[in-house]
Symmetry: C3
Subunit: 156 residues, 3 copies
Amino acid sequence: MTRALHVSAELHAEIASFYARHMRAMDEGRVQDWTGGFTDDGVFITNARPAPQIGRAAITAGAGATAANLLSNNVLRRHCLATLNIRPQPDGVILASSYAIIVRTPPGGPTAVEFLCTCDDELVRHDGQLLIRHRRVQRDDLVFAAPTIRPPNGSW
Amino acid sequence: MTRALHVSAELHAEIASFYARHMRAMDEGRVQDWTGGFTDDGVFITNARPAPQIGRAAITAGAGATAANLLSNNVLRRHCLATLNIRPQPDGVILASSYAIIVRTPPGGPTAVEFLCTCDDELVRHDGQLLIRHRRVQRDDLVFAAPTIRPPNGSW
Amino acid sequence: MTRALHVSAELHAEIASFYARHMRAMDEGRVQDWTGGFTDDGVFITNARPAPQIGRAAITAGAGATAANLLSNNVLRRHCLATLNIRPQPDGVILASSYAIIVRTPPGGPTAVEFLCTCDDELVRHDGQLLIRHRRVQRDDLVFAAPTIRPPNGSW
């Protein structure tokens, strides 16, 4: 495991707040707000999709389809973040790992856990704002692993 | 959306701790400790009740009835807070939004998610202590929305 | 209730991070990493076991058996920490209470809440590192209470 740098309280609070806004945006169907949390060339990889989504436009298209589907069925889905671990790297990238319990409620209930993901993000700072440049989401209920992709030139 | 002020790490930790004590008090049936988290004229609005509860006495009565009912059936109910977002306002009020996963266990189990709420609080500081002056709780499994009420004189 | 000292943001972030690493280690079957979070003479008490586990070797044996059992069945189990309350004591010990929602996924799903525990830890600092010297875990679905044990010499 890469040796992580100290996590200041300021960074911890900032990242916890970032995720709270980010998750809430998705859960409320504000797809543009949610997608705004990624870099322009962000990568989103999940074992729930056959191929990585590369770039904000592709990520927006994927998230928008999911949000529209939930909305059309009046299903509420909440991403409840827990067990956040932050590991700043010497090169300025911040690795952030968490669990997301996805809690689903159809109209009138009942409410239930739909699935749980591990979320491994690489965060970078652009103009002072935290942004996700690489996200790997692994649903525990899907038995195959999410692929790992790295940029061909090793720039990150 | 109102532009929020910076959230210091100190404020983030203070509010996370406030909620941990507050939720735990309710879950352990310590109704007075829980109610102590509201201002004297606090307002509690939820789509699980037909009318707002206004003032600490009314809030205590409502919470006490719920706690007594659970206690008499030996049911444990836990409010698990997640995805806390804090937005300090220029006038000193602090908006705090969160999810609460309510996890229920009857005697001997099984344990299950009972429901999920969004909780939108307005916090103020009295003699250094954070207090809730306005709470709006929305259960995802109840299809109607919680009413929104504002004080008639606009004092807050 | 013992009067607790102020919880600094630095301490809050440090403890939240400690638990995130600690829980993740267990959930990924890294038993030695998980056990490394206890003092050599740590005590682990739970109402899921008939007797306390005293000392790191005993704790390791118990956790290893649980991890091996899950692994052999390809079951994923996630400890999702919520509602963390920290109470530093005048003698330097830090009391930390939390909920852990245990979310279980067999191969291919479905995912469900398996049980919920309250976790009451006593943390101490050794060479700058936080360590658990006493843990009391109470599963809500088991109706008897975890025993309370104290050292015979009252050293802690």
